[in-house]
């Protein structure tokens, strides 16, 4: 009977390619939020994550990658992080063992869809919707930000130096965001302004 509950992706469209740029839905990832408890909880959390994953939880809006490369931690507010790993790693139960007593652990795997925007000029496309400065002097690889894309709250995460952005968006809003980015992509394909800034 298990096969009767099959997963359905948040956005029904496939990927969209415009002017060498691609907008696509990333595969399902296991995502867990970590919220440090008071007192010694926060230091203890940092220590244990360091021991187990070989990485220091960031104090600023950044992403850091576990030593084994199988898990990434994103800053998600003061004392809060998102751990992201590929499906099948049992991330939530692993984290419960490591630090379940010093922080709140909550599955966010289904809360967020991840839209990936890659190719030339994606910074310009992103600037149509995202109101923060994405210039390389300000925002680079593994920088993350909780902000808006148009009217939609997103976490933007730059994963490559040649900008590739992941947008973590609430699942229910993913189709709207996909639409908004498709409009921006189509608009840019005819842009006549210098696209350097």
């Amino acid at each position: 009977m298990a096969d009767q509950l099959f997963p359905v992706p948040p956005v029904k469209y496939g990927s969209l390619r415009v002017g060498g740029m691609t907008l696509e839905q990333s595969p399902f990832a296991e995502t867990v939020s970590l919220g440090a408890f008071l007192g010694a909880g926060r230091d203890e959390l940092v220590n244990r994550i360091h021991e187990m994953f070989g990485v220091i939880l960031p104090e600023h809006p950044r992403a850091v990658h576990a030593a084994d490369g199988r898990c990434t931690f994103l800053w998600n507010g003061p004392g809060q992080w998102l751990a992201i790993a590929v499906e099948g790693l049992g991330l939530l139960s692993r984290l419960r063992e490591v630090c379940g007593d010093v922080c709140a652990l909550t599955s966010q795997s289904d809360s967020r869809a991840i839209l990936k925007l890659s190719g030339p000029n994606v910074r310009e496309v992103a600037s149509r919707l995202v109101p923060i400065d994405l210039h390389p002097r300000v925002f680079g690889k593994d920088h993350v930000a909780s902000t808006l894309a148009g009217h939609i709250p997103v976490i933007i995460w730059q994963t490559e130096d040649a900008p590739t952005y992941l947008f973590l968006v609430f699942r229910s809003l993913a189709a709207s965001l996909f639409h908004d980015f498709s409009v921006a992509l189509n608009g840019l394909s005819y842009s006549e302004t210098d696209s350097c800034v």
């Binding site: 009977m1 298990a2 009767q4 509950l5 099959f6 997963p7 359905v8 992706p9 948040p10 029904k12 399902f28 939020s33 919220g35 440090a36 408890f37 008071l38 007192g39 909880g41 809060q80 922080c103 709140a104 652990l105 909550t106 599955s107 966010q108 795997s109 289904d110 809360s111 967020r112 600037s127 149509r128 995202v130 109101p131 923060i132 400065d133 210039h135 002097r137 300000v138 148009g150 009217h151 939609i152 609430f170 699942r171 229910s172 809003l173 189709a175 709207s176 639409h179 908004d180 409009v183 921006a184 189509n186 608009g187 394909s189 005819y190 006549e192 302004t193 210098d194 350097c196 800034v197």
Partner: protein, 1001 residues
């Protein structure tokens, strides 16, 4: 279509047009030719067209005053159909092949306008005519005055259909924003750009250069525009510099934020597929160099609005940039040496100069020399006393210094009252400009943080000085951003002299004595006499003057009129200009279309849509959807044969009451709450007690606002020792999250608790009805005991379903039936709906939508949004006893106020019409039977109503004074909108299963 007429006024090739290509366009149905680089103004002028429109109030023939965005007269309707754009200034319309424009505000045609006789009723249409003439009786306004005025005085017609084009919004960041690409702007961009700073240069025109394109003066011995092109090339090669042409910076806002409008595809017939027509930019800049240039002032003299009377600088623009002469024989009317350039440029183009009228006394300025060079009569200390020619200038009456007047034939008057620095951006945040007598101009004094004015915008009119001023401003701005900037080597410019003497009008004595109209505001048809009249009637504040005469309040916002009006008012009231005042300029600098402000957020994309996990499945089922906040929810699921929504909804309700139904309730806000102090936190948030809730149990909770009124409600389940999951109403989900964060971070930071939204994490589906347990038994894994004993009403559990999928089950009921809410990870929500349909089929399962959900909860007397409307208390909702007296919680203190617990307050009741078929309408008022429909008799209202298939009657929930004590009483239900009154009985709000036996079955 006849052959296009020749461009007989195209006297040479201009620096901004490409005469090797020919474009065709039409104006008022007639075909003309022009060239790439032309504006609609220059192309029509090349054909000798002088009449462009009729004035707003008096329908006077009007031609071009200017060559730029300040144009008050020459407004047309551009394009047609859904793209028709009224009040478009021909001076900023770039010509494209196939362009189609028509004049506006004329009837029946431009050359013969029947309403031109408005000019004969000047006394009626003078200053304040709206306030004086049409005051009484009031009914005349709608029926007579308004339509008459609209017919007689109006501007263009907006398109009747929705705009078919796309609009975008974008955000840009830079170190240095340079506004304007004249000499100062280019030098600033160069200085800042070479330092490596991130620079954005915005130019509202299609071409960079500003006045460098308009003047014949040279830089380093070459045409000025060539230097502009060279700088543009260099800037284009800098990786951190962005040059944005056709982009007007229209507003300065707090925090170094600027609004700009990029006209992406206004200059072509149609945008390409997917291309936006315009793009609204928000530019965040650390520093800003305002190099916006200056706008030339007209001179106020009788009949100064005749077609052919133009600004001197505009004449030079048409000559030098477009190669078009606006006339054959010119008279200059000037008060400064800058205007004299016009004579020399006209002379070089072969245009005769009949006279130079220089308001300055003999010996001041270079007028005499230029006049002799051009062979023109020279009138130092002179004035133009009148202007003749109905639809175009034929002659002017020149009064010399001795007062002697003579008529001089001409077809062009080039006037210059001096230049007004374009300081708008500097004043948007409330910084008042200061009057400088020596320049006869307002200059910025204090500027918004990070902004500096340069070049003509700062009163630096000499080209060499403007270049230097701009370079210094650009360098300093870059240095302020931490870049090592140096001054660029600048080209040599010919020295110029300005030597201005104030000239605002040529009206001797008090202007009201003159009979002929001397226009101050061309677009709103405000004359010098109107200003005098307003002053005489006591409107001596410039702000009052503007509102009384409408001066400066047309679409051009008084760019060419404000200062002349101020000067006139000062003179009439015998004050100086600084004593008389100034007016702050508000954004936008140029008109911005509402579509551009909306950007892509139009129509169904006005706001984003949230789709629950079962949306696609519901679509396949043919569901009818409704918006619930941002959420799109299934409202009901029609079946073939059902004739109306009520039939469908009643069937869905019966299915739940008699068998089993299911409904996606994912949209309820879900908040995961964890931490050692989670219980204590809930205890302070909710009115009722939470410390003793057992693991695996759910409790209803009510939240108040701090003022004691009800805020939100929902259930919270305890999943573990320190782990709770709260539900909120769909509408308040975001608000409750912010409220919890506020209480935690600001009120009680010592509480150890963490929250995160899990609304999207779980697909939550209510399965309700006597057969719901039987259906769930097919889904939950066998190890879980669903029996009433093991999993009673208000139980909660984490379990697995369908062979190992993690899920949560809550035994909750909004319908009053045996019911559950099953939550699975959202990716399985779609499949769960399909599975429920399949396994529920033998039990007669059916999906139900929000409408049936509403009926079910009204039948059960559960308050929802209409009851928790922000004006009701726990007591009003019949939940006064929930309020704990043993603890402090949000709203606890204020809820105890006597007025909030007064039993006479309208309190929740059920209501049932005496005749079951009488339809109840929410919002109706409840009055005692027989009482007159007055506010004093009003005793309450109906909040929610439904046709109840279970009761077989219309039923409602409402609030009634002393409600619970009045059960059985018959009251009058007044629907004031429909004018109906029906009799209805007050009953218990629980219509179905009042003892709650079904819940516990």
């Amino acid at each position: 279509m006849s052959a296009a007429p020749a461009q007989i006024f195209r006297v040479r090739s201009g620096n901004g047009v490409d005469t090797s290509q020919t474009l065709h366009f039409s104006f008022d149905g007639k075909t003309y030719t022009g060239h790439p680089g032309d504006t609609l103004a220059s192309a029509l002028l090349a054909h000798g067209v002088r009449l462009f429109g009729r004035s707003f109030k008096y329908h006077r023939p009007r031609g071009l005053l200017s060559a730029g965005p300040e144009e008050p007269n020459a407004l047309v309707e551009l394009r047609d159909g859904a793209r028709r754009e009224p009040n478009t200034r021909v001076t900023v319309v770039e010509l494209f092949d196939g362009l189609n424009a028509s004049s506006q505000n004329r009837w029946p045609s431009l050359s013969f306008d029947a309403l031109g006789m408005n000019g004969l009723f000047t006394s009626v249409l003078g200053a304040g005519f709206y306030y004086k003439t049409f005051m009484w009786p009031a009914s005349f306004w709608e029926k007579l005055y308004e339509p008459m005025i609209r017919r007689a005085a109006g501007l263009g017609r907006a398109a009747d259909e929705a705009d078919p084009d796309l609009y975008e919004k974008s955000t840009a960041f830079c170190d240095v924003l340079v506004v304007g690409s004249g000499p100062a702007g280019l030098a600033a961009a160069l200085a800042a750009g070479r330092s490596g700073a991130r620079v954005i240069l915005c130019e509202q025109d299609a071409l960079p250069g500003g006045r460098l394109r308009d003047e014949s003066a040279t830089l380093d011995g070459k045409a000025g525009w060539q230097w502009a092109e060279q700088v543009r090339q260099e800037l284009a090669g800098m990786p951190e510099v962005r040059v944005m042409t056709r982009t007007c910076v229209f507003g300065a806002y707090d925090g170094g934020t600027y609004g700009a409008l990029e006209r992406v595809a206004d200059h072509v017939a149609l945008p390409k597929d997917g291309q936006p027509r315009q793009r609204l930019w928000r530019i965040v800049a650390r520093e800003c160099v305002m190099a916006t240039g200056a706008i030339e002032r007209p001179v106020v003299f009788p009949n100064n609005d005749r077609p052919g009377v133009m600004l001197a600088g505009a004449v030079r623009t048409y000559l030098n940039r477009f190669g078009v002469s606006p006339g054959r024989k010119a008279v200059l009317y000037i008060c400064n040496d800058d205007g004299l350039r016009t004579a020399l440029d006209l002379r070089r183009a072969g245009v005769a100069i009949a006279a130079i009228v220089d308001s300055r006394p003999a010996g001041v300025g270079g007028g005499a020399q230029v006049a002799s060079q051009c062979g023109a009569a020279f009138f130092p200390g002179g004035a133009i006393a009148d202007c003749y020619g109905h639809s175009g200038v034929k002659a002017v009456l020149v009064r010399d210094a001795s007062g002697k007047a003579r008529s001089i034939a001409c077809d062009l008057v080039a006037m210059s009252g001096g230049w007004s620095p374009n300081v708008a951006l500097a004043t948007h945040l409330g910084n008042r400009p200061v009057w400088h007598d020596d320049l006869c101009a307002f200059l910025p004094s204090t500027l918004p943080p990070g902004m500096v004015a340069a070049g003509a915008a700062a009163g630096v009119f000499d080209t060499a000085e403007a270049l230097h001023d701009g370079a210094v401003a650009g360098q300093r701005a870059a240095v302020a951003c931490g870049f090592a900037a140096t001054l660029p080597v600048l080209p040599e410019a010919e020295p110029t002299r300005y030597a201005i003497r104030a000239l605002f009008h040529a009206l001797k004595g008090v202007p009201s004595a003159k009979k002929a109209k001397a226009f101050v505001d061309f677009q709103n048809d405000v004359t010098a006499k109107d200003v005098a009249l307003a002053a005489r009637e006591g409107f001596v504040s410039v702000e009052h003057l503007k509102r009384y005469t409408t001066l400066g309040m047309a679409t051009d916002q008084g760019k060419t009129s404000n200062i002349n009006a101020l000067a006139l008012l000062a003179e009439i009231t015998e004050r100086t200009i600084p004593q008389t005042g100034t007016t702050l300029i508000r954004p936008p600098v140029q008109p911005v279309a509402i579509e551009a402000l909306a950007g892509p957020h139009r129509g169904t994309h006005f706001k984003p849509t949230r789709l629950p996990p079962t949306h696609q499945w519901a679509e396949e089922q043919g569901a009818v959807f409704t918006a619930n906040g941002l959420w799109m929810r299934a409202q009901w699921f029609p079946r073939s044969g059902e004739t109306d929504w009520l039939e469908t909804v009643s069937r869905e309700v019966r299915t739940v009451r008699e068998a089993v139904g299911f409904c996606d309730v994912t949209t309820l806000g879900k908040i995961d709450i964890q931490g050692p102090d989670a219980a204590e936190f809930l205890n302070r948030i909710y009115v009722n007690a939470w410390l003793k809730l057992a693991v695996g149990r759910v409790r209803y909770g009510l939240m108040l606002r701090e003022d004691g009124f009800a805020y939100d409600d929902g259930t919270t389940a305890r999943l573990g020792e320190n782990h709770y999951v709260m539900t909120t109403t769909t509408a308040n989900a975001g608000g409750v999250m912010a409220h919890l964060e506020f209480c935690h971070q600001w009120l009680w930071p010592e509480l150890d608790v963490q929250f995160i939204s899990v609304t999207d994490e779980w697909a939550q589906i209510a399965v309700a009805g006597p057969k719901s347990r039987a259906v769930l038994e097919k889904i939950v894994d066998a190890s879980f005991d669903l029996s009433n004993e093991a999993f009673p009403y208000m139980a909660a559990a984490e379990l697995t379903v369908c062979g190992g999928v993690a899920a949560r089950l809550f035994r909750l009921s909004f319908s009053g039936e045996l019911a559950y809410e099953l939550a699975v990870p959202a990716r399985y929500g779609d499949a769960l709906a399909r599975l429920l349909m399949k396994v529920g089929e033998p039990f007669g399962i059916a999906p139900y939508g929000t409408e049936a959900l509403g009926v079910l909860r009204i039948e059960k007397g559960h308050p929802a949004g209409p009851e928790l409307n922000g004006q009701t208390t726990a007591h009003d909702l019949g939940m006064g006893r929930l309020l704990s007296t043993k603890k402090d919680f949000i709203g606890s203190r204020m809820a105890q106020r006597p007025a909030l617990t007064d039993p006479a307050r309208p309190t929740l009741i059920g209501i049932q019409p005496v005749n079951p078929e009488d339809m109840l309408v929410a919002g109706s008022h409840l009055l005692p039977q027989g009482a007159s429909a007055t506010a004093t008799s009003d005793q309450g209202w109906l909040s929610s109503v439904a046709w109840s298939p279970s009761v077989g009657s219309w039923i409602g929930l409402g609030f009634l004074t002393n409600g619970p004590a009045r059960k059985g009483e018959i009251v009058s239900v007044h629907n004031l909108l429909a004018g109906t009154i029906i009799a209805a009985r007050i009953v218990d709000p629980v219509f179905v299963d009042p003892k709650g036996e079904r819940l516990h079955g």
